[in-house]
Symmetry: C2
Subunit: 199 residues, 2 copies
C-alpha cells in the first residue's frame, strides 16, 4: 500500500531529540519502506531560546515541494512549541503530545489527541534521553502510518551502537503504550478532559 | 553587516558528514551570528544508494520560503553528486569540491571553483571522518560568508565532546588551506586545468 502524502511537524526543546526523531521517521519511510521523505529544520533566534522543530514530508511519490504548511500530524513535546504551532494543525488532524509537559487547550476542531508520558517512561528505562525513541514508538502505534519494522530498523540505523539496545527498548515501551491507548480509546478521554478543562 | 540571502547545497555520499556540515553552518549563521537558517534534507531511493544532500538557506531576515532551487554556493564531495547537481548552480556561483573525489567538467559559466583534498588532510590528522570539518574550514576561508569564530563555536557545539579537539584542528587545517588557496589564486589554476581537460 502506497504511503499518502503526509505532512508532519515535530517540536519541542533542545535535547529532547526532536531532529533525531524526524530523521528516524524519514529514514523509516524512505530507506526501509521505499517511499520518499524530506526534512526541513529551522535554525534562528528561536533556536537560541532552546525551541526546536522539524518538518517532515512523507510520500509514496517524489516530493517536489518540501514545504510543510498545515501538518496532518503534529508531535509536540513542550508547552512553548504547543502555543506556537497548534494553530497550524490541519482540521481533523492528529496531535501527539508529551503528557506531562504539554497542557492541551484551544484545539483546532475534530483533532484526534494522543498523549504519552514519554519522559517518565524513558526515566523508568534508566535514561531520560531516550524519550524521543519512546515518542517514536508511540507515534508508530497510534498513527499506523509506517510499518513498525521499518521504524525499528531506522532506530537501529540512527543511534550510536552503544545506545541501540536501550533505544529499541524505549521504542517498544512507547509502541506498547500506544497500542494500549488505542485499545482503551484513551484519546477520546483526553479530548473530554480537554473540553472539561475549558469550561 | 547583515547576511545576504544565500542558497547553499552540500552533497556527497553517506558517512562524509554532509548533514553535519550543513548543521554546523546553519548553527554558525543563526545561533552564533544572529541570522536565520533553514536546512532541508532529502531521504529517498537515492539515499538508499548512499547519496546524501542538504540544502541550506542563510539570511539576515526570517526565511519564509525555505526551498533552494539554484544554489549560490555548492559543496560537492562525490562524483555522483557532482553529476547530479552541478547544473543547478547559479551562474557566477561558487563551487567547492573534494579535490581527489570529484573531477570537474561541464561547468556552468563563470563559476568560481575551489578544491580541497579534505579526505587526505583529514587522514593526515589521523581520522578520515573529520573530513567534513576540514571542508567546513575551507568553506569558511574561501567564501568569507560567515564569521570564522561563529563557525568554530558551531563546530564545538555540534560534535560529541571526545571529538571536539580533533574537529577544531580539522577546521583549522581546512581554513588554512583555504587561505593559501586564496593567496595563490589557486581557483583560477583549477579552472585552467578544467578547461584543458575538456580539450
Amino acid at each position: 500500500m502506497q504511503l499518502q502524502l503526509t505532512e508532519l511537524r515535530i517540536a519541542g526543546f533542545g535535547g529532547q531529540g526532536v531532529i533525531l526523531s524526524a530523521i528516524i521517521l524519514g529514514k523509516a519511510a524512505s530507506i526501509h519502506q521505499g517511499a520518499y521523505a524530506t526534512m526541513t529544520q529551522n535554525f534562528g533566534p528561536e533556536a537560541r531560546g532552546g525551541a526546536c522543530s522539524a518538518q517532515l514530508l512523507l510520500s509514496g511519490q517524489p516530493i517536489l515541494y518540501p514545504y510543510v504548511t498545515h501538518p496532518d500530524i503534529m508531535v509536540v513535546m513542550s508547552q512553548e512549541a504547543y502555543t506556537r504551532f497548534v494553530r497550524d494543525l490541519k482540521e481533523g488532524g492528529t496531535l501527539i503530545v508529551e503528557q506531562d509537559l504539554v497542557r492541551v487547550t484551544d484545539l483546532p476542531r475534530q483533532t484526534k489527541v494522543y498523549s504519552c508520558p514519554a519522559t517518565r517512561l524513558a526515566e523508568e528505562l534508566g535514561k531520560k534521553m531516550v524519550l524521543n525513541s519512546v515518542m517514536v514508538g508511540f507515534f508508530t502505534a497510534v498513527t499506523k502510518l509506517l510499518d513498525p519494522d521499518s521504524v525499528r530498523n531506522a532506530v537501529t540505523d540512527s543511534v550510536p551502537a552503544p545506545f541501540r539496545e536501550l533505544n529499541l527498548k524505549a521504542f517498544e515501551r512507547g509502541f506498547a503504550f500506544g497500542l494500549e491507548s488505542l485499545a482503551d480509546g484513551r484519546h477520546s478521554q483526553e479530548l473530554e478532559h480537554v473540553t472539561m478543562s475549558e469550561d
